[in-house]
Amino acid sequence: MNKIKKVLGDDLHKYTMVIALIALIVFFNIASGGKMITPSNFQNLLSGNAYVLILAIGMLMVIVIGQIDLSVGSVAGFCGMVMAIAFQKWNFPWWAAVLLGMGIGVLIGAWNGFWVAKMGIPGFITTLGSMMIFRGAVIWISHSISVPAPSELKWFGAGHLPEWGPAFTGMNNSTLLLGIFAIAFVIYAQLRQHARVNELHTNKEPLWPVVIRIVLGTGVIGYLTWLFGTGRPGTSFPIPGLILVVLVMIYHTITQKTRFGRHIYAVGGNKNAAALSGVNVQKTYFLTMLNMSFLAALAGIMFVGRSTAAGPSDGTSWEMDAIASVYIGGAAVSGGVGTIMATMVGGMMMAVLNSGLMLLGVGADKTQVIKGLVLMAAVAFDVYNKRPGHVSITKRLFNRNSAENKEGSPADKKS
């Protein structure tokens, strides 16, 4: 137990969902006769869900500040449509059309942000309005007819990295390079952190957990590199997946490592206390809502790239998928709690379920039922684990001495 903690950190609880995700993947792989863990299916998992996961990044931040954004689907659809129309009908070059679409996203975000931050209207109501406005607007401007997208966009929505270099590697060399790069980064980051810990802290960390972490990290990345790189020639780690990974890194840093990120959690945890600590609550609301619509525009445009056309019903109920991912990832409805990484795991749970059930030939109707049940189960599990006094299931799995932990709550000590 202690050894595991030294490797993975004290908070093993956060790995529960990862373990569940891996279990789910393995289960589907067995049930489908090995069709789950294949290069092309993993590529599809990323390409086909990148847009939801990108929305989930923004949604996590919105939910952490204690708001909700129901308009993301409509905004994604609208921005995608504006982009397609600008390209098709107004003869914009494709990149200018994309910039226009993103710009519109930012403007819509500012609109939502204005009502939430300056006028104090709850996000639920504001974005319910925006949801209707932009769903209507997308039908209006498109005359309900799909508009073909610039073919360059297909690269963003469903593209692959190029093939190059020697063939003896037997895999896509772009993917291989990415993998090597990622492994190098893991090694560098681990060693650097180790050095800093030993420099600053009195209780030195031995070297072996670092080595194990590096071996683990290298193993996982190496395996994924191999998996993504050995698909059909011409395929690689997909571009939408790459965009997603870059966004996750950026937003993980923003939420965990910047003042703005800290402000988001402060506002969500206790708005009044945050205001009295010098946090500009309005600005935090505004920027978070703005960012959400920006990401919605990006997701919408990537989806259009994958679909090769912008349709009038693009984005319908995407907000629900994004919200579900965030809650499965353990965020709190009341705000203040949740991380990007956990949200991504939550989103991947949904994606794997979708993919696995489709591979098994389960219809969309039953898939929906199962997804609903999984959402409830995941959240109930999370609530159960966090309830004080209940011994978490992870702890039970790891802790041989769990018999000592009796019912009761440490929080109740104070009288």
Binding site: P162, P166, P233, S307, G311
Partner: protein, 377 residues
């Protein structure tokens, strides 16, 4: 951290700009050859079975938009039983009218090793990338009931002539007006189908080619003046939206007038319109329909709905399966004289004729359909 991102971005850009001067052999660009020469259309290196057909027990994917209307549910059942009867392994999935779901379902069919994928698209323009992916994986793609647009990844489309259907709907409406409402001029209203469905504007176009001359000479009056497809369209083929529109038309334009006829693009919408008229205290108008849904067959029989149009799902499914068998045997796509531009390529289209059903001919039309025949009591 910042440096890391910069490096990563630079890497991606360099990679994407580098000419693909090495690495593993890429497959030949898929399906750029004109569809007119179907046997060669799939002769990419990745589809070795193309010329020689494929196993007789191969997996066949069928991706349907949803199961919310009777015709799709029937299609699902017929594909299942008939593909199985023909010795294939069918995977049939419906996407709940969500484009992303349909995209993923098609991907999972490729994943499951389907040799042919039959696609009844939700939106025929939005499956480009996945269909091209299917093509690249050596899978035949057949559009079902609706055209697959804006993609090179399609081998052929089986559908009822949609313009022809529209013409028949308009003709049925005119017949109904004469039979039910005496001499003209008549007051009518127009309804269109779901705008995301490429068939819907075609139905409307076909109908208007018949109706427009009569509107121009005053025989028909569209009281609301709404004659544009976008004005008349019904989002998502949603009956409740059609009913809401009819309610407002009746209260807005017909408080002192009688409505004689309505052009309806399908049965569900036709029933919604009839219900709306009844609730507004109007006589039931002459009306057109489509799909011969059970409920509407009963209504036609009882005289509440003047007409519907049967697009016998069994004929459509049978035609599709015939194509699949031809592909299996290595004979490529069967010949057809209709080709339609889909925005990227010319697509082979196999058109079937629809049949107008009124009370007078219902028994004949459904002579071979015991299920519907039982409704005619």
């Amino acid at each position: 951290m910042k440096k890391l991102f910069a490096l990563l971005l630079a890497l991606v850009m360099v990679l994407s700009m580098t000419a693909c001067g090495g690495g593993r052999t890429e497959p030949a660009p898929a399906a750029t050859t004109p569809a007119a020469k179907p046997a060669e259309a799939n002769s990419s290196t990745e589809a070795p079975a193309a010329a020689g057909g494929f196993e007789a027990d191969a997996t066949i994917g069928v991706s349907l938009p949803w199961l919310g209307t009777q015709n799709w549910k029937e299609a699902e059942e017929m594909f299942k039983s008939e593909l199985e009867a023909a010795g294939f392994k069918p995977i049939i999935q419906a996407a709940d009218n969500k484009v992303p779901t349909q995209q993923q379902q098609i991907e999972s069919m490729i994943q499951n090793g389907a040799k042919v994928i039959v696609v009844g698209p939700i939106d025929g323009t939005q499956l480009g990338a996945v269909l091209e992916e299917a093509k690249a994986a050596g899978v035949y793609v057949i559009g079902y009931d609706r055209l697959l647009e804006n993609t090179t990844g399609v081998d052929g489309v089986v559908q009822f002539g949609s313009v022809k259907t529209g013409e028949l709907q308009a003709q049925a409406l005119l017949d109904g007006l004469k039979a039910m409402k005496g001499e003209g001029p008549w007051n009518i209203e127009l309804f269109g189908g779901g705008p995301a469905d490429p068939n819907a504007p075609n139905f409307f176009k076909g109908a208007m080619s018949v109706l427009q001359p009569l509107i121009d000479d005053g025989t028909l009056t569209v009281v609301s003046g709404q004659t544009d497809f976008t004005q008349c369209a019904t989002m998502d083929w949603d009956n409740s939206k059609a009913q809401a529109r009819m309610d407002s038309l009746l209260s807005g334009f017909y408080s002192d007038k009688e409505i004689h006829g309505v052009l309806s693009p399908n049965d569900g919408i036709a029933r919604a319109i009839i219900t709306s008229c009844e609730q507004a205290g109007q006589e039931i108008p002459a009306i057109s329909g489509l799909d011969a849904e059970n409920e509407s067959v009963e209504w036609v029989w009882s005289g509440r709905q003047y007409s519907t149009i049967a697009k016998p799902t069994d004929a459509l499914v049978a035609q599709t399966i015939e194509i699949i068998k031809s592909l299996q045997a290595g004979n490529g796509m069967p010949a057809t004289d209709v080709q339609v531009k889909n925005g990227k390529i010319d697509v082979l289209v196999y058109e079937l004729p629809p049949v107008v059903v009124t009370k007078d001919n219902a028994k004949e039309v459904f002579a071979n359909d015991p299920g519907r025949l039982a409704l005619l009591k």
